[in-house]
């Protein structure tokens, strides 16, 4: 599609939104060319900055009339290229939709616009003793609309669940341009549940009703140092096996600790081959009891140093190294890939050993940071982009780690989403029938395939096609509008 094809839609956007909310200047357009996954880039054909759901609906309707693809974008912090724009399409940026519409503590809910940041919700209700539970590490800047698209988790989702467990209702604009409410209290199909985590392929979120959670009476954070991840892993298994469900259990290996020390001087115990951060929260007597149990379990499994945070400042000190880990590896490596995969918790020791083997085989260092409680790995694959062939080897190792996750019955993504980055891995996890069945949902919402096309699914299928047997080349591939991996 040429720029000329966008001329008429752009004129109509300007009519509906005003010139100030339609960006066509090439220099400004380039600031939107990628999200948090910076190696995928595309300059959007046009950017719109709507302020209301009606404006979003108008934009989407115009897109539908003209057959123009659109991509919604919140804060652009996503790590799978889910908000990668289309050069031939419209980028709908929700940054002007940042109102907290209502807070209703009696019903433990808040209604917010999609551009509101995750943390802003918590900040709005913290003084009243409530918070919004899902806490992706980018929570200071990431938008709630993006969280809905990605079904974001965070360190505390082990106990509290994901975005989908905390969204009570959504107002969405369907790919036809209709404004529709999806509510947990409505009878009928759980379209709310299907929409959350659909990565923008089923429409655009314009309003979110979130569940507010009562702040816990007590929070205790402890840090345990082990000689390596094996002993740390055994402690994790014993904690979970002991009937304790901590709010979070995080582990870092030696290389990740080294990076964090270099970056933020987190002063973790010297000589630690692995550190475990365990956060317990809930009623005070329960937390006190569980703290005793966790301390005992860590000691029994070889923890050589235990530190307990006595207050918010000390808690922040313990979390500092963990929260800085992704960025910190920049201190010890010129370039790196952040991977996101999941294995059943019991497979962790074997998978870590396999990652270590891959690392040695290919001469690529891998720092491991993970949500140990739910088996969600974030291997940081380190390489020198100045060294010929290193990027390719890193990519290979990174991909092999996902294979390991699938082989052990896990997932290719625990929280970063599929986006453009992992769509080619979907066939490793799902059969053609599985993917065709998911495609039925897509076709019900978006028969023209205009809402964030090219994301999540490896092979676009036209909605009129009969699922199942594919004969010859795909028409979209043949016409050059799509490619297969």
């Amino acid at each position: 599609m040429s720029a000329k094809t966008l001329e008429e839609p752009v004129r109509r956007f300007q009519e509906f939104l005003g010139h100030g909310c339609v960006v066509t200047d090439p220099v400004r357009l380039r600031t939107y060319e990628c999200d948090g996954l910076t190696h995928h880039r595309a300059t959007p054909g046009v950017v719109v900055l709507p302020e209301t759901a009606e404006q979003v609906a108008a934009v989407v309707r115009i897109c539908a009339e003209h057959g123009v693809p659109f991509v919604a974008r919140g804060a652009g912090t996503g790590l799978s290229g889910g908000a990668l724009p289309r050069t031939d399409g419209v980028l709908i940026v929700t940054s002007k939709m940042r109102r907290i519409i209502s807070i209703d503590l009696a019903n433990r809910r808040a209604v917010v616009e999609p551009g509101v940041t995750n943390l802003a919700i918590t900040e709005a209700v913290r003084d009243q003793g409530y918070y919004y539970a899902p806490d992706p590490s980018s929570q200071q800047v990431c938008s709630i609309g993006g969280n809905v698209a990605e079904n974001s988790g965070g360190a505390h989702c082990l106990k509290y669940g994901f975005t989908v467990n905390h969204v009570r209702a959504l107002e969405i604009v369907t790919p036809d341009g209709d404004i529709v409410e999806l509510s947990e209290n409505d009878p009928g199909y759980d379209l709310l549940g299907a929409f959350v985590g659909s990565e923008g392929t089923l429409g655009v979120t314009t309003k979110v009703t979130v569940r507010l959670t009562r702040a816990p009476q007590a929070v205790t954070t402890l840090l345990a140092a082990f000689d390596g991840t094996e002993r740390g892993g055994r402690a994790v298994s014993a904690i979970i096996g002991g009937g304790i469900l901590p709010a979070a259990i995080e582990m870092m290996d030696a290389l990740a600790i080294e990076a964090a020390e270099a970056a933020v001087s987190c002063a973790y115990p010297e000589g630690a081959g692995a550190v475990l951060i365990v956060e317990l929260d809930g009623p005070a007597p329960e937390v006190a009891h569980q703290f005793g149990e966790v301390t005992r379990i860590c000691a029994e499994n070889g923890a050589f140093e235990l530190r307990t945070a006595a207050g918010a400042a000390e808690r922040a000190a313990i979390w500092k190294g963990r929260k800085s880990a992704f960025a910190a590896v920049g201190r010890i490596s010129p370039a790196y890939i952040v991977q996101d995969g999941v294995v059943p918790r019991t497979a962790l020791p074997g998978v870590l050993a396999d990652i270590d083997r891959l690392s040695r085989e290919h001469g690529i260092r891998v720092a491991n940071v993970f949500h140990a409680g739910d088996g969600n790995l974030h291997p940081l694959v380190l390489f020198d982009d100045g060294e010929p062939g290193a990027a390719e080897r890193a990519e290979l190792v990174s991909g092999r780690i996902l294979d390991l996750c699938v082989e052990h019955g896990g997932s290719i993504t625990g929280e970063h989403g599929v986006g453009v980055d992992k769509s080619r891995y979907m066939t490793k996890m799902f059969s053609d029938d599985d993917l065709d069945t998911m495609q039925l949902v897509r076709c019900a919402f978006d028969p023209l395939g205009l809402s964030n096309p090219g994301k999540v699914f490896p092979t676009p299928r036209l909605c009129g096609e009969v699922p199942g047997v594919r004969k010859g080349a795909h028409p979209l591939v043949e016409s050059g509008q799509a490619e297969q991996f």
Partner: protein
């Protein structure tokens, strides 16, 4: 019948006991594997036969009667690949089960302190039936419902396609979550054959805090006389959702205040339930505290009930806990939690011999009416309750009601996303052979 027999799946002729909301199917099939179900569905597709999946049949009288029903697919013999019904991974706190298994079989795992934290008010119900109707009990407040605990699902579609989504790990955002779509779909999208659930540590201790609150004049006042048709508007709860606030303080206002205090308690009850026995009775509020230091935490909850009535702590649940208030004529009201008292008052002022029970913390209430309430009174009750609950931001569905009683009544009520839902149905089941007509909007 021949085409079905060729699948090799056990078949029998259906009888009156196999009726789906009053519609008797022609045959019943007893598949033993997911592949059996796929073979049956292909045979049905080839001969345009309509299918209704069933488990124990505890909720077969829920929903609209099907437009047609040729084959009932009984899932109770379904096993996982390899012949087992349950595959428990204790270290991962995950269980994979066949859809035909009784969901209560997952309430405990001998040798492990683990449980599926899903209360089922119909104890005999199967996993498949519980998922398909999305029915849940008191602890929905803490753990959510089936959709929040389901992490993987295997389904067979109308054309015989077998599809999986999710997996065996809790944290997983790869692909659309078909499990959520199938939860509460009333068999209209396909047959659920397998499910994977996340488990939770089983609590060591449980305590119930029960508060019997006194009746108030409002709950005793008959509206227009028992059995009468539509109560006149003057008898409707005054100022139900008006900006000026609630009606005069009464037992139902007090109930909301108490339930709100319980739900917000940092002792973290897993459930806050209410039971209203009908005209003349006061509502009973009960909260469950479970886990470590349950007694100490229960005392903290009990302290909140000061002045609200006769309050006590017990080690056993009240007799009505996690049960439905009735079965023949059963409705479900959903309101924002703070509207629970208003919702019960709306029932009370209509003067029918009703009973209400459910989650005050989640605003999900089941209402039962006498089976001899009469068609007109029933229809008037549904329609006027929908108006009142609508003003509270809620709604009402008829879960079960004999055909004669509910004839002409929209059992499901209005829903904003109905056109989208129809489109989902058209994609999954274009020939309308899966439980046709059972669901919202006649889907």
């Amino acid at each position: 019948m021949d085409a079905l027999s060729e699948t090799g799946v056990t078949l029998r002729r259906a009888g009156a006991d196999d009726a789906v909301a009053g519609v008797v199917p022609r045959w019943v099939a007893l598949p033993e594997t997911t592949a059996d179900v796929a073979a049956l569905m292909r045979a049905c597709a080839a001969h345009d036969l309509a299918v209704v999946p069933t488990g124990e049949g505890t909720k077969l009288n829920w929903g609209n009667p099907p437009e047609r029903c040729d084959l009932l697919v009984d899932t109770r013999r379904l096993a996982l690949e390899g012949g087992a019904f349950v595959e428990h991974s204790p270290g991962d706190l995950v269980v994979r089960v066949s859809a035909g298994l009784a969901v209560n079989a997952l309430a405990s795992f001998p040798g492990f302190r683990q449980e599926l934290a899903l209360d089922n008010p119909l104890p005999a119900g199967t996993v498949g039936g519980t998922l398909a109707t999305a029915v849940a009990g008191p602890r929905r407040f803490r753990y959510g419902t089936a959709r929040d605990l389901l992490i993987g699902v295997t389904v067979v579609l109308a054309d015989g396609t077998t599809a999986r989504s999710g997996g065996r790990v809790v944290k997983n955002v790869a692909g659309y979550d078909l499990g959520k779509l199938f939860c509460g779909s009333y068999g209209t999208l396909g047959v659920i054959t397998e499910a994977v659930f996340r488990l939770h540590p089983a609590p060591r201790e449980r305590r119930w805090i029960t508060v019997e609150t006194p009746a108030s004049p409002a709950s005793e006042r008959p509206a227009t006389g028992e059995g009468d048709a539509l109560p006149d508007t003057a008898a409707s709860p005054s100022g139900l959702a008006s900006p000026s606030g609630l009606a005069a303080p009464d037992a139902f206002t007090a109930l909301d205040a108490l339930a709100a205090e319980f739900a917000a308690s940092q002792a973290e009850p897993s459930a806050v339930e209410v039971d209203w026995p009908g005209p003349g009775g006061g509502p009973t509020v009960a909260a469950l505290v479970e886990g470590t230091a349950a007694e100490e935490r229960a005392r903290a909850v009990l302290a909140l009930a000061d002045g609200h009535g006769d309050a006590r702590i017990g080690e056993a649940a009240p007799a009505w806990w996690n049960t439905l208030p009735g079965d023949d004529v059963l409705l479900e009201a959903r309101v924002p939690p703070a509207g629970t008292g208003d919702a019960i008052r709306a029932v009370a002022v209509r003067g029918l011999s009703a009973r209400v029970r459910g989650s005050a913390a989640s605003g999900v209430l089941r209402v039962t009416l006498p089976h001899d309430v009469g068609h007109e009174a029933f229809a008037a009750f549904v329609s006027s309750m929908r108006d009142d609950l609508g003003r509270l931001g809620g709604g009402l569905t008829v879960l079960a009601a004999p055909y004669e009683l509910a004839r002409g009544v929209d059992r499901w009520g209005p829903v904003s996303a109905l056109p989208l839902m129809r489109r989902v149905k058209e994609r999954f089941d274009p020939d309308r052979r899966m439980s046709p007509g059972r669901f919202v909007g006649g889907i």
